[in-house]
Symmetry: C3
């Protein structure tokens, strides 16, 4: 649009120009709204997702320290318990109605977090006693207290259904308020999360 076509401006041309401006304005407004909405859809949210695969006392402690820390910082946290990790959210061991390999698996895995051994220096149970004792002496919350805290803070606790099925873990063996889910449950949270960890 050059100066000589604009001055002087007949009224009809002026009206057309104003309409063109208005159209451009509306286009930009709509574009900004659409782009912002699309980008926000892709932005990570204030979430953290943790797969708890390990049934080790020390790693499970780390998982709950991170989970409760993140929840305290205002992140929405989800923990997905799979394989040996299920032991952390068990409240009891049941053997009734289980097949032989399921009963064996039940007997060889901890009945609850209280029976879990650390990944190193297990010493047939002494390592767990020692680690718990050292934590107590330094006024660090126990694993069970951290699990309770996580639940109070609204941390989402999901048990992997496929692992339960394969290992023969029944719903009655798990703590109350545990959700059941699959890998899609984890991924739906993880793909929206700022942090995702496999522990």
């Amino acid at each position: 649009m050059s100066n000589d076509t604009m001055t002087p401006t007949p009224e009809g041309a002026l009206a057309a120009m104003l309409q063109a401006f208005e159209a451009r304005l509306s286009t930009i407004e709509a574009k900004v709204d659409a782009e912002v909405a699309a980008i926000k859809e892709q932005l990570p949210e204030d979430k953290a997702s943790i797969i708890v695969f390990s049934g080790d006392l020390d790693k499970t402690l780390a998982a709950f320290i991170i989970a409760t820390g993140a929840a305290t910082m205002g992140l929405e946290v989800s923990m997905f318990f799979t394989f040996w990790g299920l032991s952390a959210i068990k409240k009891q061991r049941l053997t009734d109605g289980k097949s032989l390999p399921e009963r064996m698996m039940a007997l060889m895995t901890p009945a609850s977090s209280l029976e879990m051994a650390p990944s190193k220096m297990a010493f047939f149970g002494a390592g767990s006693v020692m680690l718990r004792q050292m934590m107590k002496e330094k006024d660090v919350a126990s694993l069970e207290e951290m699990i309770d805290l996580a639940r109070e803070l609204g941390v989402k606790i999901v048990a992997c259904e496929m692992s339960m099925d394969v290992m023969g873990v029944k719903g009655d063996e798990l703590m109350s308020d545990v959700q059941l889910g699959g890998v899609a449950t984890f991924l739906a949270d993880a793909t929206k999360s700022r942090v995702s960890l496999f522990i």
Copy 2:
């Protein structure tokens, strides 16, 4: 710009104002395009990246369950096999042309996924048989079926060249269609991913 300077508007002033508006419009349009492009460059993409370090049957299973789950959900998935994790993508063990420590390493690591033991309850091979049997009873795909599925779904499978070099693993020992790469290969994918895990 106040009312009294605008009314009445001489034609020359009007033309200048319209030009100024047009310039602002063009500036905003350009700014929106530039900002949106820059932001999109920084947004995580629909990708997931997994380092498979462990050579354990159970952890490798978890890695492939997550990888195939993510690929099924439409994510572009890349798996980076390093250290003991290389065993999962081996099709055979070769010892010819290897140094003594390389041969020892070859003999002490699984010849393929079929020889991998779980991280817990290995029981000199019984743990692997038991886990595989329990999966079969519950109609869960075997690790080998999941590896095939991952390949069918287009999951990118990268073998860590440095690990191959250090451990003496030869290209002929790996499954076909495996890409070779280094930590930069992993990071190039991981920095664009919504989820990255070390398993």
Copy 3:
């Protein structure tokens, strides 16, 4: 705004229209600035965060290969050493002034990275010698060289204070220039990172 209300345009109406346009322009400009600023606040930054939980030689090597690789690619890297992982950033073992369980813990954990054993094939020390020898033969930097490189590249090294407290690790036992922090320190970095790993 239809044609018949615009042509002919009395000067007062024209001025009002132009003012309305200008207001819309200013609104869009402000909106773009605000939305862009808000989005940038939520975008992941060029950072990577690694929790080093394991005290295994091989996993610690993997952590430093990833950390130095990421730093070389221009990412800001922070490593958070917790539990057994503290061994990697110890320069010496001290027992003076420690309680009995603290002294036991000190004696049962490596005095420094040089004493760390791999997660597999430890063979009471032989595994570590073999792995280090194989790396040397292939001209791969040793763990200690990688730790030095990480520090030269400006990788942020944080020791978990709670782990130090529980395990009785003293500041004098750690390498110089190590920062002390807690889970909040890790999460502050991790929530801004493109990649976060638990190793």
